[in-house]
Symmetry: C2
Subunit: 363 residues, 2 copies
């Protein structure tokens, strides 16, 4: 098992890795990293390309192997090219290293090592089983692909998705409090799909007291999207010091409710991580959203925006103490998950990644 | 010359009209309507499709005829299919009816009559010259295409484009007033292209006193975009009761400056129309933008939005007295001009059309 520079690999392997990287982007980031895998025939042609579709679904390697088995490809003459070291542990799915060995694949090239304690060791397992393993092809791009996921892993906290649903003038409710519905049916269905992929949904006490949300997943595909292992709904988490009324709908009846009496997102994330939560969806209100953004604890931001103007009402974001334009919170388009900008009927979904260096300059 | 229902036309003519309608959408709406034209060979094939690219550029009919002449097409055996009755007057360009006669085209099918006093009479002119003229094919769609332009014509007022450039949280300046630059270079270049196509740019006195804008067209293609006749820059118009300082840059040195001491958009539009202005660009601030939107005097809205959050500062839109969600100003995507949503680097440009029935219900 060696780590090599890009020049140590064949042109066919490099091409296969580029396809695997592109496929990885089609996945859903969150508790799991984006991963793509390609199967390369001995004639240098890419035969199959797989990717990971989110927590609980087959990993990229298994996705590609399944395609190969369906097509009758002789895997004992193929190379597997994958953007991340195959995992070596049984989570919601079995270890990928094992699947590669069982498939009889003689050679595997991966871009970067798996940084997580649980999952790493895949390359060693493969090597021990006699598979030729090489690492480092397109390593920089593969690292970039999952750098925010890797950071969450490194900091032992859940990956954080912040979501807002607002008008063109960034209102989440009219002056009289009405907010049903600002975004359209397509946007709401999409947002429920996002809920279905996370481990916990977080809102503030103001949202509970004002809107009395259920925070459940309400989409036909909801349960399916939870994958093969975890069919329970996401944990419903209320953040803040005020009491949550006994009758609040967020409490539900399944025991999957937590009230964390803190205003500090870092404290909340630590507690949730200890409970096994790996992907948190922050849904508001403005104070809670602002707290995560200001603390640089948002890994991605989803903004559903409807072509409406209210001119007054509850804002999406709080006063963050920003005085001048250069201090603005900055974001970049996130091209994973099908592109950074999506039309949902008349609504628009922005998929953004915070640019932390903009507010904490590197020295 | 007859007006017929769609069933009176051949399948080839219908197909040609659909192509012409699609081509029309590629134009720039504004002082002139969107128009497309197709040239149909005697074998029923569409040979050329033209469209109008904005005030001062060749009309759709001439665009299609030019293509035919370049290709050596024998126009004496062709039918011209056009989404609007050919004009019969000399504005920035010559009369299209004349161009069709000169080209020797024996038959012309148009979707709707030209409702404007100046331009109408084209069909009569063609008929008098011996051209077979038929009207009414896809009439409803062609009317829909230009209904807001037709409304402006009907009300004898300029066509109004409202433009804002804002953050994700709908701010046009930070708390300390800084606003240079909220949107990126691509957005600003695009906005200057829009300026280049209009007859007048309107801002409020607050904008003048706060930002001291020049309101000039600053793009390499600016002068070209003005077309072949009118190479002067757009009229710079300040709206509001407060004085415009003698040193204000908006005054310029070319005499193309007006200060209209009114808060009523209808009054302003009437005055500008009398001065020959046919397309107005409203650029802000919030009070002026709000006045046009609330009076239902915006024909289209362009929102340049940058992925920044300020959390405080000057808002894009004023308090409009809207209390509840159902009273919100509503907009629909405007699919003309290349689509209703455009990525400009990290920024997004929304092209919207107000939905007036949402606030003034038809009875």
């Amino acid at each position: 098992m060696t780590t090599d520079s890009d020049t140590m690999f064949t042109a066919a392997e490099t091409e296969a890795m580029d396809l695997a990287l592109a496929a990885a982007l089609r996945g859903h980031r969150g508790a799991n990293p984006l991963v793509g895998a390609a199967i390369l025939g001995e004639d240098g042609r890419v035969l199959h390309v797989g990717h990971h579709r989110g927590a609980g679904t087959p990993h990229a390697e298994v996705d590609a192997i399944d395609q190969a088995l369906d097509a009758g490809t002789d895997l004992t003459r193929c190379t597997m090219v994958v953007t991340l070291e195959p995992c070596n542990h049984t989570g919601r799915t079995g270890p990928c290293a094992e699947a590669v060995v069982e498939a009889g694949i003689p050679r595997l090239v991966h871009a970067v090592a798996d940084p997580t304690e649980n999952a790493s060791g895949g390359a060693a397992r493969l090597h021990a089983a006699g598979v030729q393993v090489h690492s480092g092809l397109r390593g920089e791009r593969a690292e970039q692909l999952n750098h925010r996921w890797a950071r969450a892993q490194g900091e032992s906290r859940p990956y954080v998705t912040v979501k807002t649903a607002q008008t063109l003038d960034a209102r989440i409710a009219a002056a009289d409090g009405t907010s049903t519905w600002i975004t359209n049916e397509e946007s709401r269905a999409h947002a429920h799909g996002v809920r279905a992929r996370v481990d916990a949904i977080v809102v503030g006490t103001t949202t509970v007291l004002t809107d009395d949300p259920r925070l459940t997943v309400r989409t036909p595909a909801g349960d399916q999207a939870r994958g093969d292992q975890n069919t329970s709904s996401p944990l419903r988490v209320v953040m803040g010091h005020r009491d949550v009324p006994t009758a609040a709908r967020v409490r539900g009846a399944d025991g999957r409710f937590r009230h964390l009496r803190t205003h500090d997102p870092a404290v909340l994330l630590t507690e949730l991580y200890e409970e096994g939560v790996r992907h948190v969806l922050v849904e508001g209100g403005a104070t809670v959203v602002g707290a995560f953004l200001a603390a640089d604890l948002a890994d991605e931001v989803l903004v559903y925006q409807a072509p409406l103007i209210l001119g007054a009402g509850r804002p999406s974001y709080p006063d963050l103490g920003i005085q001048t334009l250069s201090e603005a919170l900055k974001f970049l388009p996130d091209e994973s998950d099908g592109g950074s900008l999506r039309r949902l009927g008349s609504d628009v979904l922005w998929h953004l990644q915070p640019v932390p260096e903009a507010r904490t300059p590197m020295t």
